[in-house]
Symmetry: C2
Amino acid sequence: MKNLVRAFAPATVANAVSGFDVLGFALQEPGDTVIAKPSEIPGIQIAPLQDSYRNLPTDPRLNTAGVAVQALLDSQNLSVGVDLVIIKGVPIVGGMGSSASSAVAAVVAVNDLFELGISTLDLLPFILESEKAATGVPHADNAAPSLLGGFTLIHSLNPIDVISLPTPESFCCAIVHPDLHIKTKDAREILPKSVSLSTATKQMGHIASFVSGLYTEDMEIIRRSFIDEIAEPHRSKLIPGYDAVKSAAISLGALGCGISGSGPSMFALCANQELAQKAGEAMVGAFHAVGLMSELFISKISSQGARLL
Amino acid sequence: MKNLVRAFAPATVANAVSGFDVLGFALQEPGDTVIAKPSEIPGIQIAPLQDSYRNLPTDPRLNTAGVAVQALLDSQNLSVGVDLVIIKGVPIVGGMGSSASSAVAAVVAVNDLFELGISTLDLLPFILESEKAATGVPHADNAAPSLLGGFTLIHSLNPIDVISLPTPESFCCAIVHPDLHIKTKDAREILPKSVSLSTATKQMGHIASFVSGLYTEDMEIIRRSFIDEIAEPHRSKLIPGYDAVKSAAISLGALGCGISGSGPSMFALCANQELAQKAGEAMVGAFHAVGLMSELFISKISSQGARLL
């Protein structure tokens, strides 16, 4: 057992355009940092969070970091005490995988604190427990990339089958988080229960082509296939100025642009940092034109994912 | 202009399990050979076919090879005469892309005969004209792999966007063609018009994962993702003994097994020739057990596709 461990887990973009429900990727920043220390008091204690996150629960049964760590400890039949300090960096309810980042950082920290030796990939089920508790639906397209880094394909949740895809090194992402709240529940309910066979096969073509583009680093294939015919036609209605924001990014050279997670954040995937900066600023401008203030993040894709600090 | 040109185009497997409507691959054999010669009589003349194919039309407006060559000649404003001899090797109405193979071989031959210099990929639209004439629906998942070889992803038909995927060299395929007739129309009508969102995203995961497996030559990923939740549940009902034939192939080590094209042929994708032979024989046995005679083809995947002889 160590005295203190710090771990960082990055924000993520889930439902990444061509890969609704199956594709996500990790940013280098922002991210959440979790400090874990052994405690003489049994159970999990979570310290009060920073002011701007004070709405997040510190009850470990309600906080995703607490739920994930509890699942991890239970799996090892460990009755120990652990203090968690969560330093949030990922905006909540922004569509950047905030709940997953805390859970990932916490589990990575506690695995190291008690020297449990569980492999990174084998930590995923504990994080999915917390994602299920937070959203009612187990989904891994934030948790897996935050844990593993890079572009991550969720092939299956039962059994868990996750594939790390190659990530072109120059890739950079602009994420724009408008001052707008969309409930995950609303974003889910606006989706149709079924899609036409034609739409399904088109989207299969898009995701297959996009994956091919990642392996060959063919920017034109990536550009042509970074298309969402599943969620975007519906969810974009929840975001004022959506079409203008997307057009602004594309016109400045972004490879593609879409909703991050279930929104309201939008992201533009770009071939390099300079393009991401330009695209991001144009997106902020387009949101401003419809009366929405927004926050801009520019980040390369993290090939590393969660890590000990 | 040359005096005589011979071209070969292989049979293909379309709707290849994970990639309904978007994924096909080419076999080394069987295939169709077309001999093209200039003629003093303007227009296209097609010689009578072998006895076992005597039901195929020789009217060039009704034969896929004739339609494709006419489209090619029209695109060049060429009013010439050409004699075509079609030597069929691909069973008709078997789900092995028979109509596409003839059209591909014919177009490749005539492109060379008149020294038109059209690139291989740019020949595809003329073949699609003939596929549209033959089936009422333009589809490329036979034509593209027969032309290009290997595993071929049809990302889009409009505009045409086709991606050649890597093909592990050892791959071998067993194709079993039962003595059974399924009309393409019936196979299409048995499909539902829509699929649940959950089924669509699962299948997106399967095809994305399969493509990843081709790039990394990871046989376990390929095995886990060679799954069809779109067409198989419906079309398998048209093939007596389907489940037993599939189980026979899988139990003998096939990576996956499914319907070739719109059936009734079934194929097993195998890691090597020995496994394909065993799987194929077991499939023939399983069809026999339900009273169906069948023909077995064993072929490696052709990385070459159509070629001049």
